[in-house]
């Protein structure tokens, strides 16, 4: 007997236990089947969605941003190819090695390396991360050459903005920057989610942002686990941004900028009085918008921000100054239109006028004697306008001020515009908490006190006076074009299409004649500016009218008046602002110019010559007749 008796026992124990075990295994296998059922039947829709999300990636195709041209078709803002190094990695795997090699090739520096590593580890679905933008050609070559050692690194061709005219157009064109939360408000364009997108921040780049941006295309791609595109499933082409043709004449803009070079800080704006087109707009000092396009450094940014001349501000629209004597145009019109005075009314000037305890001085201490409104404008007599203001009253002056564009934003559309201030009884009660005084009316009459305006508003005032009382609005955009449609240049306009302001044309003519005499009569405050002086040929077609203004920065004390302290003896930042507005030609006005030289002391002295030269140059060039920009832009 070779098998012992126990074998039967252990065989039956084996059988029992084996069956028990088999039962257990059946249970476990059923558990597997149950799990399969749960995953593949119960939750299958959810997993199917997740699988699709894994597989399909919607990539936006950024459109190229619309170009900006001047009225002659000269490019002011263009797109430049921007070679970017991008990197991807599978959840940060191997990122250190790649970043180290990139550092050797591009000298990234420690902080950059840390940023890259962080972004690479964080990036979901292996979304590419920007390593460096605006690569030099040599750097691109270096990366391409070392491509085998740089897994996940690739060169991406994007676009960035270039401003060929640089500082000359800094305030008009502005610049672009990364999309901020503010920019996102009210816009649901998916393009704004692109990390590489640049959004208009200042100037026309901002005001025309929604036109310039264009529409995103999209490409649906199948991607593998490391984000590499396997094939394209669907593609919708985007639409490039709309091109913009501006009203600016670059040559004139440069002429103006050259004239302003001698000045520390100031602003000039040239406007077509018929159409409202802004022909030139200069605010000095400016900045180079290309700094922003390239990526401005912290220190450069701080320098711009901290400079006392505020180079980032467009003083034409954002600078507010007391308009000074230039405002006498409004006072005169208000007094005439409200019949407070008539064209023959003569008001006396004895050098000063007393109101209660306060003495209001005329700039000409000796007194002008009795003057009518035209003579008073020519001599810029303060006493005449104190009295005219008193007779017209603050309400009538305020009404006329608003008609002429003060105290409200224009329709120019540039960001950062200030509405200035056209004071009124209600305004003073609300903001100052005091009732309106007669003295306030006196000050308002000569554009001082609470009255504040921007150089643009002064240009608008001059334009509305010059065009015969039409409510022209400043305008920077001559035309928009997608580059595909036929562009038909509009026929030049000679009559304003803007609504009339309903001001008596005779009164307007009277004020215009006063401004003509400012320049062209021997009594005029700006007689030295007349174009037939200093041997220049008298050209009737270039005859222009103007009005000087001096805005007090600091009240002249009685002591200073007694001591005869002159403006030159004051520190620069306490000197008066010099203002000058003018229009021409006198017979058939077409252009208005507004000039402010900050702390330039006398209007006729510093601002006047600039205004005269700019206006004469404008009249000679007559840019309103030029429409060749349309053809040039259409051919792009």
């Amino acid at each position: 007997m070779r098998q012992d008796r126990g074998d039967g026992d252990r065989a039956s124990l084996f059988t029992r236990r084996a069956l028990l075990l088999g039962g257990g295994q059946v249970l476990l296998l059923s558990a597997l089947a149950g799990r399969l059922y749960q995953l593949q039947v119960v939750d299958t829709d959810r997993f199917a969605t997740l699988a699709e999300e894994n597989r399909i990636n919607l990539r936006l195709l950024p459109p190229s941003r619309g170009l900006i041209f001047d009225r002659a078709g000269l490019p002011l803002a263009v797109n430049r190819n921007n070679f970017r190094v991008m990197a991807t990695s599978d959840r940060g795997r191997g990122a250190e090695m790649v970043v180290d090699r990139l550092d050797q090739l591009l000298t990234l520096g420690e902080p950059e390396k840390l940023r890259l590593l962080r972004e690479l580890r964080r990036s979901r679905n292996a979304q590419p991360v920007v390593v460096r933008e605006n690569l030099e050609w040599e750097e691109v070559a270096r990366i391409e050459f070392n491509a085998p050692d740089l897994p996940g690194v690739f060169i991406d061709l994007g676009q960035s903005r270039d401003y060929p005219q640089g500082e000359l157009f800094s305030h008009i064109i502005g610049y672009t920057g990364r999309v901020s939360d503010e920019d996102l408000a009210g816009r649901d364009d998916p393009l704004l989610q692109l990390p590489t997108l640049r959004f208009g921040k200042k100037g026309v780049e901002r005001s025309l942002e929604d036109d310039l941006r264009g529409r995103a295309g999209a490409v649906q791609v199948e991607v593998n686990a490391v984000g590499r595109v396997v094939r394209e499933l669907d593609r919708t082409e985007g639409q490039p941004g709309t091109n913009a043709l501006l009203t600016i004449d670059t040559d004139l803009q440069r002429f103006v900028a050259d004239k302003m070079k001698a000045q520390q800080s100031g602003a000039v704006v040239v406007m077509d009085v018929v159409t409202g087109d802004i022909i030139a707009m200069v605010s000095t000092p400016g900045f180079d918008p290309n700094q922003f396009a390239r990526g401005i450094s912290q220190t450069e940014w701080r320098d711009l921000l901290d400079s006392p001349e505020k180079p980032l501000n467009n003083k034409v629209i954002a600078g507010v100054y007391p308009p000074g004597s230039t405002y006498k145009v409004v006072t005169a019109l208000a007094a005439l239109d409200s019949k407070a005075i008539d064209p023959w009314t003569r008001l006396p000037c004895a050098g000063s006028i007393k109101l209660g305890d306060t003495t209001f001085h005329c700039w000409f201490g000796g007194g002008h004697g009795a003057l009518n409104v035209v003579e008073a404008l020519a001599a810029s007599c303060d006493c005449f306008f104190y009295e005219a203001a008193r007779r017209a009253g603050v309400d009538r002056i305020g009404e006329m001020g608003q008609k002429m564009g003060f105290g409200r934003l224009s329709e120019l559309g540039l960001p950062g515009e200030s509405s200035g201030n056209q004071p009124s009884r209600i305004w003073k009660q609300e903001k100052v908490g005091k009732a309106w005084q007669h003295g306030d009316t006196f000050n308002l009459g000569i554009g001082q006190g609470y009255m504040l305006s921007t150089p643009l508003q002064l240009a608008i005032m001059t334009a509305r006076l010059a065009n015969g009382g039409y409510e022209v609005q400043p305008n920077l955009l001559l035309a928009k074009a997608t580059g595909r449609e036929e562009l038909v240049p509009p026929s030049p306009r000679d009559k304003p299409t803007a609504p009339s302001l309903r001001i008596n044309p005779q009164h307007l003519a009277m004020v215009r004649s006063g401004m003509d005499q400012v320049v062209n009569s021997s009594q005029g405050t700006a007689n030295q500016l007349r174009i037939d002086s200093s041997g220049k040929l008298l050209e009737p077609a270039l005859r222009f009218a103007g009005k000087t203004g001096t805005a007090q920065v600091k009240r002249i004390t009685e002591r200073e008046r007694a001591m005869g302290i002159t403006q030159e003896q004051l520190p620069w930042h306490l000197r008066h602002h010099a203002l000058f507005v003018c229009f021409g030609p006198v017979d058939n006005p077409r252009y208005a110019v507004s000039v402010i030289v900050e702390h330039g002391m006398g209007g006729g002295m510093t601002a006047g010559p600039i205004g005269r030269d700019v206006l004469v140059e404008t009249m000679k060039r007559d840019p309103s007749r030029r429409t060749d920009g349309f053809r040039k832009m259409a051919s792009r």
């Binding site: 098998q3 039967g8 252990r10 236990r17 597997l32 995953l39 939750d43 699709e52 894994n54 593998n224």
Partner: protein, 378 residues
Amino acid sequence: MTALGLNEPAPVSFPEKVWRINWGLVLVLTAIAAVGVVALYSAAGGRFEPWAARHGIRYAGALGLMLIVALIHPKVWLALAWPIYLIAMLLLVAVDVVGKIGMGAQRWLVLGPLQIQPSEIVKVAVILVLARYYHNLRSNQAGQFLWTLPPLAIILAPVALVMVQPDLGTAMMVLMGGAIMLFVAGVRLWMFLTAAIGAVACLPVAWSFMHDYQKKRVLTFLDPDRDPLGAGYHITQSKIAIGSGGLFGKGFLHGTQSSLNFLPEKQTDFIFTTYVEEWGMVGACVLLALFALILVWGYSIALRSQHHFGRLVAMGVTAMMFLYVFINSAMVMGMLPVVGVPLPLVSNGGTAMVSVMFACGLLIGVNVYRDAQLPRSR
């Protein structure tokens, strides 16, 4: 009980032996390997290279080996059990000392043109040695505590060595396969209970000995959302692939998750996922049913064996197959932590295929020699 003399079988002729080979089982194994070829063909993006063709060839070779093993008399295995075990242990030690680094753990040994994974050999070796041990034991001894100590050592020694590599999957398989063999061999139930309680008590200690990546796997298993892009990524993607397959699958070569490489290790440990994504729940059930058929065969062979060695070997092989299939598929479905256990005959990998087919050869051999007389050596 029949008379002892009648138990003496007539010698079995060679054609009889060949006839006794479970050809149905061979067919099932071939069907599973065919599923493997199909899945690997798909995993390679619709190409026979680099996996599917080699898989088929390898199976053909392993099939030959299996048939040869099946025809070898169990007494040979009884005699070779210890030498095989010792060689396997030596190889394990060698792997720990000079093994080539693969997948963050030392599991491979390079012998000339061969790369072998001793942990696969040791699974078979433990079955043989345990079967031999209990075969030689008297019935009443099997249940006793003292007689249980040597088999514990037989199991734990290789477990310790593979843990060092570290290879949690193989360690689990040897441990659980060994436990199953002890269970059917008749070890008293209280010892299992004590061991279970002891294991639970030792968990904190085991935790402290675990490698970081093992800890991470366990933690990730307990809560896959802990780190959906890191350690939990594999299991999440695998579940997405299986779930998105649905009832009928996405169709052959249309599995997006695997073809776009969202699946990790898609040709080895996650081959089940690749297959199920394309063939759906229907395909999964067919494959699991094929494996279940192997188990049925295994049980019937074990129960029909006239000798204890045969019973235990058959049971051990069946348990090994079950553990392979269960651990692998439960792992890819997120029911178990991710441990490196392949799906037998489907996953790409030579040593595992050879060891599984070798084991199946032993199983069939038990059937061929089911009525052989195997004396106790003591």
